[in-house]
Structure formats: C-alpha cells, structure tokens
Amino acid sequence: MKLTLWTYEGPPHVGAMRVATGMTGLHYVLHAPQGDTYADLLFTMIERRNHRPPVTYTTFQARDLGGDTANLFKDAAREAYARFAPQAMIVGASCTAELIQDDPGGLAEAIGLPCPVIPLDLPSYQRKENFGADETFHQIVRALAKPMPRTDAITCNILGATALGFRNRDDVAEVTKLLGLMGISVNVAAPLGASPADIARMGQAHFNVLLYPETGESAARALERSCGQPYTKVVPLGVGATRDFLHEVAALTGLSPQVDESALRLPWWSASVDSTYLTGKRVFLFGDATHVIAAARIAATEIGFEVVGMGCYNREFARPMRAAAKAYGLEALITDDYLEVEDAIAAAAPELILGTQQERHIGKRLGIPCAVISSPVHVQDFPARYSPQMGFEGANVIFDTWIHPLVMGLEEHLLTMFREDFEFHSDAGPSHHGAKADLRDMQQAEPEVVAPMPVTPPTGAPLWQAAAERELKKIPFFVRGKAKRNTEIYAQDKGVAEISVETLYEAKAHYAR
C-alpha cells in the first residue's frame, strides 16, 4: 500500500483507452464498475475530442457481484458490436473487474463475434498507463499485422502516437514531413489515426519509425520479429537528435540524410548574442524518460544550460535514464512520488524547471519558472496551433517554449543593478508576462531586523547574520536559492558557524566560474 496524492500515470486500462481512442474502427469493451467512465473526460475535456472514446463499460454494481457479471459482460460485448460494428474489438478488465476474474477474453471468444477480438491482460495492481498503451498496441499488431510484400517505393510506419499524448498529433505530422524531405512516404502511422485495416497492412512498409518508445516499443519489436522490419532507435527531439535520426534512416534506406534545413531556426536563435544570458542557467528536468533524455541533450548542447537534475516517473526506462544522467555527472531521480520530485527540485534550486503539469505546480509553489516537456499534461498543453516537439519545427517550438518563462537578458541585468527598485524588483516577475507587478511601498522603511542571539541550531548548520540575510535578499530571486545553498556549503566546509556578508562574497568568489 502506498499513499499517493497526485499520480503521473493512470491505470493500465487508461493506456488501452489511449490506443483505442486514437484509432478508428476499433471498439473497447471494458469490464468495469460504474464510475470508471470518468476516463472519458480525459479525452473529451482535456484533449477536447469531439467524439466519445469508443469504449463500452459493463457498469456492474454491488448487487451484480453475487450474480452473473459474466453475462453482463457478454451482453455488453454483443450490444457494442451490434451498435458500433467495429472492424476489431479489444476486451479487458479494469482494476475491480480484474479481482472478480471473469476472463473477458474467454467470454468474448465464447459469444463468437464476427470480427477479430483481441483480449488484453493488463495487471492493474502492478503496472501503469504507459505499459497499458504499449501492451495494447503490441497485442493489436500481433493479432492483425502479417508479413506481406514490401511497397515498391520506400515507405515506413510511424509507431507510438496515441490519443492524449503530449503533442503526438503534430509530431506525427512533422516527422511525416521530415521523412518526405528524404523521399520516404508513410505507409501507416499508428495507433493515432489508424484503423484495424491499416494495422493489417503495416507489413508492407520497409521499416518502422519508433516515435515514442514508452507506447510503441513492444509493437516495434514484434514487427521486427514477425515482418522483418528494422526500427529506428533515435527519437528526433532537438536539432542534433533530428540529424542523427536522418542519418539512422539513411543507413536503413540508402537515401541521403541531407535535407533542406532552411526552416530550422533554433541554432541561430541560440547563437545570437541576445541569448548569451542563457549560458549556464541551471535547469531541472523531469517527465517520461524519452522526453527528459532528449531535453537534457537540447538543454546542454543546443541552448547552453546546465543540467542540475533529471529523472523520470516510468521505472521501465530507469536504465537508459540513469545512463543519460551519468553523462551529466548526475544521479537520476526515478520516482512516481511528486513530493520526492518537489524535494529534489527544492534542493537543486534550479532557475528553470522542464517537466510535466505536476512540475508546473511545483514550480508555482517554489517560485521557479517552468516549461512543459512531457505527459502528463493539462488542457492548456493541447494548443490549437501547430506545435510539434519533434523535427526542425519542433526544435523551433522548444526554443520558444523554454525561453518564454525566463526573465529576459537585459531585464535580468537591470534587476541585478537596481536590486530594490520599488516597481522592478525580483518578486514582480518577468515583465513580458503581463501579470500586474506588485509595487512596493516606497515609504516603507526597511524592517529593522532584530538580530537574534546566535544560537547554534541542533543540526550544526551555519547561522545567517541579519546583515548577510539582507544582502542575500538583494540577490535576484532566480539565483538566490543557489547563492544561499553555495554559501551554506562553503561555510560548513570552512567550519564557519555564522555567515556574514564577507562569507557570502567569499563563497561567491569560491564558486565563480
């Protein structure tokens, strides 16, 4: 039993819903109690879908439990087929139905529906949403995709995009465009936008592009085995990764990796002198492993940030995550407990957080700006405009999105020069964000701090003298956390019990880079 306040991932059957809802012509009969229909609103409200998810819930109640929940399932499956006439059906159980062990797969087989029925076995008490999506897509591919002759022209499938995925709609479009520049057309993109009939013709592609390992890797492996299709390992997030991806595709196809890069703006935007202030800004990254690993590379090598913490909530990818973190001299944080993430962020005192909607809230609490790079995301992260993360346009979007929350370069300098300006102080927030600046009372005298008797705290942590504390407050908020932490470490190392203004500046000189 584990106490959870907020979760990064839903249960595995929600992952199955992401696959079903992304597809057309597929129906999901879910053995589930009343209330599990809440999941519909993830799609209709958060993603603003204009259709109900293609899911029939059996809706059993307490009074059914002694009776015949199995027949309830059979009736629901028959009626769903009659009403929706899907090309194929997936059947499974939510967490509660798993406990009553009705075997939806066996029941559906027994009633002999005139379409392929694919049973799902998603262990609700062990696994989570991404696993559910990955496994569901895998089972659909296993059941429907068969080896077949290749297309004459070079084609590929794009794997892993689902409903409710972070920017999946636009990533598929952007990667399709990118492959088009190389002369490759897309055979099938799945699950998002595909029908069971499309899945059945996946075998004719020459290779697969694995866009999202979290939700598509098992299917990619299955297709490699059954249809002999190799799949790409590089996820084209960022400039470097996109170029690596093009080279990987070139190696698979014999086509040239040189494509028109005239629409790519991130490198120049990053090199232009106004971006100098971004140098070495401390960023903390958290999200799904694929997005975080790619974002770390962009942050460190394409924007010039310093990565001071990174981690992921999906334990399945702990190994590559740890390896990536090591390259930045970091220990990866692998957890799905947001309180742990909050503690780690507070301890690292970054100037920018790149995370999920959870980290956005953490940032709000800690007063640290945040940009969203990964699921789970909320309604505001499903923009109306074209807004991919992958490919060259994705890199442009990433530059804009990450820079926007920060205080701009010259503004930052002014804050440093005139630290206690009454209308332009550090608590007023970046001026381009439009929130009303919180004007300080000019007449207000500096509160006279009565210096407390220096008592050594039980932890042995050094004590801040009142003057040093005042000086610390003059440091702009976006570096204050770091300065405080560095000074305390410095004082502890030097055996200084009380931090004076001098200690503060000695520490600053010590950590100068």
Binding site: G10, P33, T44
Partner: protein, 425 residues
C-alpha cells in the same frame, strides 16, 4: 404562503427505470468538495491507481495547497493477504497523521477494489479511532462505484457521521448538506432574521462544531441526494421537514416557509423578512429567463439535483423539460419538487447511456444537461449543452444565487447565439 401547484405534477408519473452503461462519476468524487468544506478532515481512499487518477482528473485543476485527500493504493501484496493490508493501512495512517497534526477527522473511504476484496474498513476505523483518540476521530464510508453514484458519496459520508453525533434533547434545527460557505452564511442569516434557532449544520466546518442530535431535533435537507443520511437521522429520533429544495425564488421560499411553519414564525414576519430577497431573486432570474423561456431541456442523470432543477427551469424560467434523468429517485425527499413540476417530461431513473442518447438525439432539445464525458461530443453534433458538474461546484442555493443558477443554463445558449452570429455553424 401557498404555492401555486400545477393541475398535475410529476409525483405519479410512471418512472422509466433503466439499467446499462452509466456515464456518471462514482461517490469518491464528493471528496473534492467535502475536503474543502470540512477544514480539519482528511479523506483517505483505500483503492487503486484508478481511484487516485479519478480524483485528480475530476478535480480538473489540481488543488495544490497540499490536498487533504489521498489514495492508499492497493498493490499486489495487499491483495494476497488482508492481514498485511491492515498492517499497511495502520502504518500509512500513522505516517499521515504524524505529518498532518492539524487533522482532527480522518475518513477511510472504501472503493470498488476494497469492497470486492472485503477489506473491513469499519473495523479498521474502530481500531484506528481507539489508537489515535482523542486527537483524531476515524470514520469510514464507501464511495465505491459499485455502491454509490457521484453525490451519493456525500450522503454516505454524512450518514457515517450521524451515529457518532452526541445526544441532545434540545429543540434545534439541523440543516443537512454541504453548502459553499457564502451560501451557508446567507442561509443562517435568513433563519436568524426569521427568529429560528438554534441552527446547526451537518457537515460542520470544523469537528468542534459538529451538531448533536435527538428526539427534539428537526432537520431540513438542502441537497436532494441525502437519502441514507435522512434515514440515519430518523433512526436517531430526529424529524424531517419535507420541502421543495432551495433553488430559485420559489424553491427557497417554499423551503424557508416549511421551516418557518415548524418554528411558529408568523406569516407577516415571514413576508417582511423574505420580501426584499425574493424580489431580488425574481429580478435576477428574469434577466436569464428571457433567454431560456420557451426552450426545451433534457437532463442526463448526474447529481440527483435534476428533479428540483427541472422544477426551477420549468416554473421560474419558462423552459419545457423533455426528459429528467436522475441516478436515483427518492420520492420521500423530492416529492414536494415532483408535485410542483408540471406533468409532461419523461422521468427516468438509472441509465443506459446509448439508449438515452438515442432519445436525446430524437428529441433535439434546445439544451442538454449532461456530464463531462458527453458534453463535447454532443456539442460537436450541434447540440447545446450544460455540463452538470458545474451545478454541484458553483454556489446555486437560496435567493442571492437564483440568478447565477439561471445564468448557468442561459450562458451556453447565449454563447451559441454569439458564435452563430459570428458565422460559425
């Protein structure tokens, strides 16, 4: 004070009872408002990842002042041995209470999985209550989907508190049902002006203010979904004052008059106290009735507020209800509203969502009141919808909110008109 009842109301209308897929929340959802209402309470769901995911999705935006609710997620090993599950639960509760010394009431909330594996949370609550007394009182109720629909979670929660309330022989009015604080204050102020008192509230904002109950307690419900709480209070000897629910000018007046009569308030004094707020409410509603009048409305079942709201829309806003769906129909509780609702609409209980969608599609109502899962798909088909959950999450009771309540229904119609005028289909 007499109500102008229709020639025939809906009390004797045959009810269309349906079973099938239900597009409704489970009772856990009530935690979202209950934990804000009871400021020293923590709600600990003993359930699955689905329960935790529901709570954060239904909450819509996260309440990031560390929420006073959480889910103890059952794992494989908890399912294998219930003894271990109890030990684990005790440990999680001890940790939680150590971190939150401000918590005075802890609700162990049962879920579908905890009910199915028969984890005895009532005994766990007794055990933990003894262990953490007197600082924390531990209650238990079920918010599971196999037993409760949406607002029934609040009913189960309040019903679980009733047996533990202190005894009293005092003649007191007990107002039952969670109200937004601003509405609660208005309600108390009206009752005070009428000279009715003492008045107690269930739930109370803090555990120290919990009411006592006994044979001289009379209680009035402000929410129509409190069937079990109603029964539990009657078991304690309290007397129920049946009344139409305080939605709109008419409903509020009827509710207050039922209470006033019980407490012997003279008619003239009642008129004097209510005249001004009644006039304000009527004026505010009239502004929206211009948009709503003559339009038809179709209710999918959601919160059990449907019958009183249909009565309000029909009688004060001039709308024509086509179907009024409700998860459960408590005739003893909504009877006065059914009497006032003019005959005509289909009254349906329970749900088979596909069939109901067929009926809704055939009826083509001007306004459809439905849950979040259905609203956008129906809008995309050209229907105008009002999401029902907002009716539970907005202050809508009593005189000063009557206009706001009408506004919740008129806004989608006005919006549709604006966009249509702007050239949208």
């Amino acid at each position: 004070m007499s109500l102008d009842t229709p020639a025939r109301g809906c009390r004797d209308t045959p009810v269309l009872k349906e079973r099938g897929q239900r597009e409704v929340f489970c009772g856990l959802t009530g935690i979202i408002w209950l934990h804000r209402k009871m400021q020293d309470a923590f709600f600990l769901v003993v359930g699955s990842r689905t329960c935790a995911h529901l709570l954060q999705s239904a909450a819509g935006v996260m309440i990031f002042a560390e929420p006073r609710f959480g889910t103890a997620i059952l794992e494989e090993k908890d399912l294998a041995g219930l003894a271990d599950a109890n030990t684990e639960l005790d440990r999680e509760v001890a940790r939680l209470l150590a971190r939150r010394p401000d918590i005075k009431q802890l609700f162990l909330v049962g879920s579908c999985p905890s009910e199915v594996i028969k984890l005895d949370l009532a005994r766990a609550a007794e055990r933990l209550s003894a262990h953490h007394a007197p600082h924390v009182r531990v209650y238990n109720y079920s918010g599971s989907g196999i037993e409760t629909t949406f607002t029934q979670g609040e009913d189960a929660c309040l019903a679980a508190m009733v047996p533990t309330l202190a005894d009293t022989s005092a003649r007191e009015l007990l107002v039952v049902g969670a109200l937004p604080d601003v509405v609660e204050d208005q309600c108390l102020s009206l009752l005070a002006q009428l000279g009715i008192g003492p008045v107690r509230m269930l739930p109370a904002r803090r555990s120290a203010d919990l009411p006592a109950v006994g044979a001289n307690t009379v209680f009035a419900l402000v929410q129509p979904f409190l069937g079990d709480t109603h029964a539990a209070l009657i078991r304690r000897g309290a007397t129920h004052l049946p009344a139409a629910f305080p939605f709109g000018e008419e409903g509020t007046t009827a509710w207050l008059w039922a209470v006033a009569q019980e407490f012997g308030v003279p008619r003239a004094h009642f008129e004097a106290v209510t005249a001004a707020p009644r006039a304000r409410a009527a004026k505010a509603v009239a502004a929206h009735a211009a948009t709503l009048s003559g339009k038809s409305v179709f209710f999918f079942p959601d919160s059990q507020l449907e019958i009183p709201l249909a009565r309000f829309l029909a009688r004060e806003c001039g709308m024509t209800p086509i179907e009024v769906g409700t998860p459960y129909l408590h005739a003893a509780i909504t009877g006065p509203d059914l009497d006032l609702l003019p005959e005509g609409p289909v009254i349906s209980e329970g749900q088979d969502v596909e069939r109901q969608l067929d009926r809704q599609h055939a009826a083509r109502p001007d306004l459809t009141v439905c849950g979040l899962g259905l609203a956008n798909p129906l809008e995309a088909k050209g229907h105008t919808t009002k999401w029902a959950i907002e009716l539970v999450f907005t202050p809508v009771h009593f005189y000063e909110q009557a206009g706001d309540l009408a506004g919740l229904f008129s806004r989608p119609l006005r919006r549709k008109a604006l966009l249509t005028a702007g050239g949208q289909p």
